[in-house]
Symmetry: C2
Subunit: 383 residues, 2 copies
């Protein structure tokens, strides 16, 4: 299948490009290096250097004998988006091209402005590009479990049947996200749902939980093919950050009581999920929502797992419960449904001790790259 | 109270400025004349000329002896928004500054792009301007009943209690709007609700139905103080359009079966509602949603009323059921709650025969201004 990956340089973007290429798809990866630019601006570079997209495609060609096409440009610019679509005429479009950090979106007004305008702008452009140049293409959009927040009722897969005053209706599951970044994904969903029902687009909206890990079937042990391992508070996801904190001898930064519970998954499983969505497109006029995670953990669960893994590898890991810089519930009900991707064939990779230790060993190999000042940045949710 | 009106040149904006001024408030009206520019670009000027904002303020000073301050600039430009806030330090902010036409938002990609970026951009800027320069100010935001769409269950005022699998939660009432314009208001609500709960803003979100009428207590008979009477398919609201069609001898353009039902209100009542919201602000951290309409009518009801009014004034009014250019239900359940504004003190102006005939007489006085080519423009919702 001809698959266009928007945001093909990102934490999941590049691994997806290799994964789909390995599975025989024809891939074009487009990106404007926004994440690299922002990481540089706030001095939060990844643990080890990541080659640029052209270099990555070259390394992948050497390793696999397969081509991934690359275009560098701003997808929030209609001219560039249209050019890529006209040239490639995708059958499937994966949309990752968003500012991906919750703390960055809460940093200050300019960062929030960039997040809102970039994320909505690219989603808008991709809708219109599909409509104009590839009306049969299936759009696979990366949303987030964070769109739902932590409601007091079970979280369904995107939709809910409501009975109210004796009448029934089916609606998008109510959303209440915890950061501006997550809120832009709520807006994306609203926008997609409008155009799906008005123009009969074909869309899968993946509500993904936090992802951990770096090594995939495609990277093997070659760190040059791996993603950004961010360990800072802004671009790092929680388990990746804890790994680096453990290696750096920094107490694990648990926010508040640490009861915050989310649905997590390994990067390998994120790739499986996206591929399954691409290979099983929906009919015109359908917005399919899939909750994309494998297991739920609290932050305290993750801290305990890192401490255990550290003990196995000879590290003395401590935990520090910091005042919570976010506005979120630290103890809450959390019971999200996640059967759709299993039905499509997902073979989950649980967070076993082996997976934990493999991640920690990889981090240990790169311990010289740790810049301790990057670990805590003090971004606060409140004014 | 110091009240800042964003979009103070619009159909409701300028009447609001006069109305609040007449009620003793200190008013600054800001606008970038976007609506005037778009009306000119697509050749949809109003039935009679409307003086610019500076001229209107001068006419109002002559009539009332009261000042309305005016600033012309683009509120989607942070620099301008910040300047207005720093200068005026409002206690209350009314946000009307959006591209207000559903058909315009469906015209083509550029028009849709302008609608999305302008509407979300201004909402974003006003949130940040309040946070930075006027953290205690109460924001009164103009939403639309169209945010809800036409669900199969009763429409509550913004919020709904859901019982699901034995547990309960309170959520924003589910939204599914019928045009991109209406969808931008859904996105506004999501964005406001995020910042309300994160930063404890004070916000009232008015879900307004279609408004009709021109004359208010402040305009008297002086057409120079009245709003744009748009009768084109793009910027005209349905009853105003039907009035001009009746006078022009053009069959009333009912879309499809004409069973589409909405909650309507007179411009006078829209002004009352907004003033009541301003004069009764909410506490920090509250998003109050009020359904702002007086009576529900189907399009067929309105067409019948115009025909009757025409008969009384000697006009032979006919009706033409056109193929529906929109994607909407033509027969549907519709039962929205609207008690909040009545509790605040709204004295409704029902659509009496007197009101109908007054509107039709005003239109007859300006019949020479009708350009028949403006009535139908052929904007279609489908690709």
């Amino acid at each position: 299948m001809r698959v266009l990956i928007l945001g093909g340089d990102g934490y999941i973007g590049w691994p997806t490009a290799m994964h789909l290429s390995a599975h025989g798809h024809e891939v074009l990866a487009a990106d404007n290096y926004l994440r690299r630019r922002l990481m540089r601006e706030i001095d939060c570079d990844a643990l080890f250097p990541v080659p640029n997209l052209h270099e990555r495609a070259g390394l992948w060609r050497e390793r696999s004998g397969r081509d991934v096409r690359v275009r560098v440009g701003d997808l929030d610019d209609w001219g560039f988006m249209a050019e890529v679509f006209e040239e490639f005429r995708p059958e499937s479009v994966i949309h990752y091209a968003e500012q991906p950090s919750a703390p960055y979106s809460m940093l200050d007004r300019r960062a929030a402005d960039l997040t809102l305008r970039n994320n909505l702008g690219v989603t808008f452009n991709v809708i219109h590009a599909i409509s104009q140049f590839a009306p049969d293409a299936h759009l696979v959009k990366l949303g987030t479990m964070g769109e739902y927040g932590t409601p007091n009722i079970d979280i369904e897969e995107g939709w809910i049947e409501i009975e109210h005053k004796g009448r029934k209706g089916r609606f998008l599951f109510p959303r209440a996200a915890g950061s501006l970044y997550h809120t832009t994904k709520v807006l994306d969903t609203d926008l997609l749902w409008f155009y799906v029902r008005t123009w009969d687009l074909r869309v899968t909206d993946l509500m993904q939980g936090p992802v951990y890990g770096l090594a995939t079937d495609e990277t093997g042990d070659d760190a040059r093919l791996m993603s950004f391992l961010n360990y800072d508070e802004v671009f790092g996801t929680v388990l990746n950050r804890f790994m680096v904190q453990a290696v750096a001898g920094h107490p694990l930064t648990v926010y508040g009581k640490g009861g915050q519970t989310r649905g997590y998954l390994h990067l390998k499983d994120a790739l499986q999920c996206v591929r399954l969505a691409v290979e099983n497109p929906v009919e015109p006029g359908a917005l399919r929502v899939l909750n994309q995670f494998v297991e739920t953990f609290s932050v305290n669960d993750l801290a305990a797992r890192v401490r255990e893994s550290g003990a196995r590898l000879g590290l003395d890991v401590t935990v520090n419960n910091l005042p919570n810089p976010r506005k979120e519930m630290e103890e809450h009900y959390y019971n999200p449904v996640h059967t759709g991707l299993l039905e499509l064939g997902l073979k989950p990779t649980p967070l076993s001790d082996e997976v934990m230790d493999e991640m920690l060993r990889l981090t240990l190999r790169h311990r010289d790259g740790i810049v301790p000042e990057r670990i805590v940045r003090g971004v606060k949710w409140r004014r």
